[in-house]
């Protein structure tokens, strides 16, 4: 089976008395593409800096391949970083930038030359050797930053919002590029972003963070389809987030209307949170659904329409490909397995979720 290449154990970190990470634990497997996802200021960069060795945790351990590297200086870790602002060396040519790590390690020039050529080929920038970083576009600089990191053959590549500064089209191209690179190189990627779409497209595993806590770890499908709490549901994709009561196993009441669902084990008459994705709310003819509703607005969104409909005292967000007039009288229907039940936060710490 796949082994853990990196483990974070109970990492805590505070700046000037303010807790940024609290008791964070995370296992990362070899060859995984792991994404740290969360809103601005939730501690993603800090986590990455602790893995890279740019910051030391107040407590807890960083274990790489079984060895404790918490206090090992950056330059001795088999980890390389692609920085958010590229951090290319402005006074060096592209070739010197990429060769920097290899020259430090005193590799011979023939090897270096071959490696630089290979790296430039990998990022599709052949012939740029003699150029200076400032003569390249943002996207090109970004790719050089990636090339500079991977020639060192790190065991783990850390990427801190590497596509943050690029426009949408270039971003999507680079996402594909990164996935291809990851496959070709066969190394572990730890990727930081606050863009949920990016995380869903690229990752094997997503770690959703908020205010220094891990909210959920799982595959993109898990995170999207079965969010464990309201924060995750709200942060990932669009969602109808509703307060409800679990009457008994497989039966939930939303605003006094009963829905069958598939979740069990929440107890009887327990308050819960419910998430229903807009594409899972189905529109039917009057009399055929679970409850009646009236269309109050419709917006064209390209691939689909976004409809807001009022029913049982709730504004429902619905994604559909069929057009409905405003004021249309419809019924809504939701399949039992599309109703996702979540525990309400119990402790103070968990309540953090709802502040956003």
């Amino acid at each position: 089976m796949q082994e853990n290449i990196l483990q974070l154990k109970n990492i805590s970190k505070s700046f000037d008395g303010e807790m940024v990470l609290e008791e964070l634990s995370l296992d990362i497997k070899r060859n995984e593409f792991v994404t740290l996802l969360g809103p601005s200021g939730c501690g993603k960069t800090t986590t990455l800096r602790i893995i890279g060795g740019f910051a030391t945790p107040d407590s807890g351990q960083v274990i790489m391949e079984g060895k404790d590297i918490t206090l090992l200086p950056t330059e001795q870790r088999c980890v390389n970083t692609v920085f958010q602002k590229y951090a290319l060396f402005p006074h060096m040519s592209i070739e010197e930038n990429i060769a920097f790590g290899l020259r430090i390690k005193k590799k011979d020039e023939a090897y270096i030359k071959e490696k630089v050529r290979y790296a430039l080929e990998l990022v599709n920038l052949m012939g740029f050797e003699k150029r200076k970083p400032h003569s390249l576009s943002g996207g090109q600089q970004q790719r050089i930053a990636i090339a500079r990191a991977i020639v060192n053959e790190p065991k783990i590549l850390l990427l801190d919002e590497p596509l943050g500064a690029l426009d949408l089209k270039l971003r999507q191209d680079m996402q594909k590029e990164l996935i291809r690179l990851k496959k070709e190189l066969g190394i572990t990627f730890i990727y930081v972003t606050h863009d949920q779409e990016e995380a869903l497209t690229m990752s094997d595993k997503i770690v959703v963070m908020n205010q220094g806590y891990i909210q959920q770890i799982g595959s993109p499908e898990d995170i999207y389809n079965e969010p464990q709490n309201a924060f995750v549901a709200d942060f990932i994709g669009d969602a109808n987030l509703l307060a409800a009561t679990m009457l008994k196993d497989e039966l939930v009441s939303i605003n006094d209307t009963r829905f069958t669902c598939v979740d069990k084990g929440f107890g009887t008459n327990k308050p819960v949170d419910v998430v229903i994705r807009p594409e899972d709310v189905e529109i039917m003819e009057r009399g055929k659904g679970i409850f009646p509703a009236i269309v109050s607005s419709i917006l064209f969104k390209g691939v689909h329409y976004e409809i807001i409909a009022n029913g049982i005292g709730i504004q429902w967000m619905i994604h559909t490909t069929v057009y409905y007039e405003i004021g249309s009288k419809i019924d809504l229907y939701i399949k039992p397995f599309n109703i996702q039940i979540m525990h309400k936060p119990e402790s103070e710490d968990e309540a953090v979720n709802h502040e956003e």
Binding site: F54, P73, T74, E75, V79, F83, L88, H91, F100, I104
Partner: protein, 264 residues
């Protein structure tokens, strides 16, 4: 209307220029005047320059001035660079405290600094050449910091981190990545320190021992005996060197435009 405004603008600038540079122009012209009179033009001559360069007093003072300028600038640059590294790493609050403290010597009246240094240095060593050197190094440090620190602030710390990330130790990273970024500040600081040292009179006057002279203190001494045209020649030369140094500093600190659009 516009023309009138334009005229006054130009007139104003001309007046300023006149007040600023007329005395120096008079000095320069006088240094080439073969008549000893301060008001009559007796024809062009280089005699005063010749006399000046043949005078052992002048040459001795010149040597002292140059050694002091280069030496104090050198040591002040090293100390100032190290100080800048330290100050840059400080937090915001400490940073502003330390910066105001380092700025005090620059704003302080020279005479206060001079007397204070004399009192302090005299306790540990006889006043002489070394005491001037110490004093010059001391008052030069803030000027060096003033030139280097902004470079650190502008610099993106992530390039240093990137170098560490790629396997370079702290020292190698500093020399390979940080230094090239701040070298213009270092050179500018060095030249500014040299200028300051060459220009200084008051502090030198208080910290020098008997018989040791820099150009400025020597000129002061000579003037007491009655002013000689050789002093005009000497002052003109000092002015020329100062201007040269200032131009150099400006050229270094000016943002470089070339290279960016070089065709390939």
């Amino acid at each position: 209307m516009v023309k009138l405004k334009d005229f006054f603008c130009k007139f104003y600038v001309a007046i300023i220029m006149l007040f600023l540079y007329a005395p120096i122009m008079v000095l320069i012209v006088s240094s080439f005047n073969s008549s000893k009179s301060r008001v009559l033009w007796g024809g062009f001559t280089l005699e005063w320059y010749q006399q000046m360069l043949n005078s052992s007093i002048v040459i001795g003072a010149l040597r002292n001035t140059v050694v002091l300028a280069v030496g104090s600038a050198f040591f002040a640059t090293i100390i100032g660079l190290l100080a800048s590294i330290g100050i840059d790493a400080m937090r915001k609050k400490e940073f502003s405290i330390v910066m105001s403290i380092t700025n005090i010597p620059m704003l302080n009246a020279d005479i206060v600094t001079g007397i204070a240094m004399m009192l302090l240095i005299f306790r540990f060593m006889p006043l002489g050449f070394s005491s001037i050197m110490l004093a010059h190094i001391t008052f030069n440090i803030p000027y060096v910091i003033l030139n280097i620190l902004p470079r650190f602030n502008q610099m993106d710390i992530s390039t240093y981190e990137a170098a560490r990330d790629l396997g370079a130790g702290p020292v190698t990273s500093f020399f390979k990545v940080v230094l090239p970024d701040i070298i213009p500040g270092i050179v500018a600081g060095f030249f500014m320190a040299m200028t300051m040292s060459m220009d200084d009179f008051v502090i030198t006057y208080f910290t020098k021992g008997a018989g040791v002279n820099t150009l400025s203190t020597m000129i002061y001494g000579q003037i007491k005996k009655g002013i000689q045209p050789t002093m005009y020649a000497l002052s003109t030369m000092i002015f020329a060197v100062t201007i040269l140094l200032l131009i150099t500093i400006n050229l270094i600190t000016l943002p470089k435009k070339s290279g960016k659009n070089k065709p390939r």
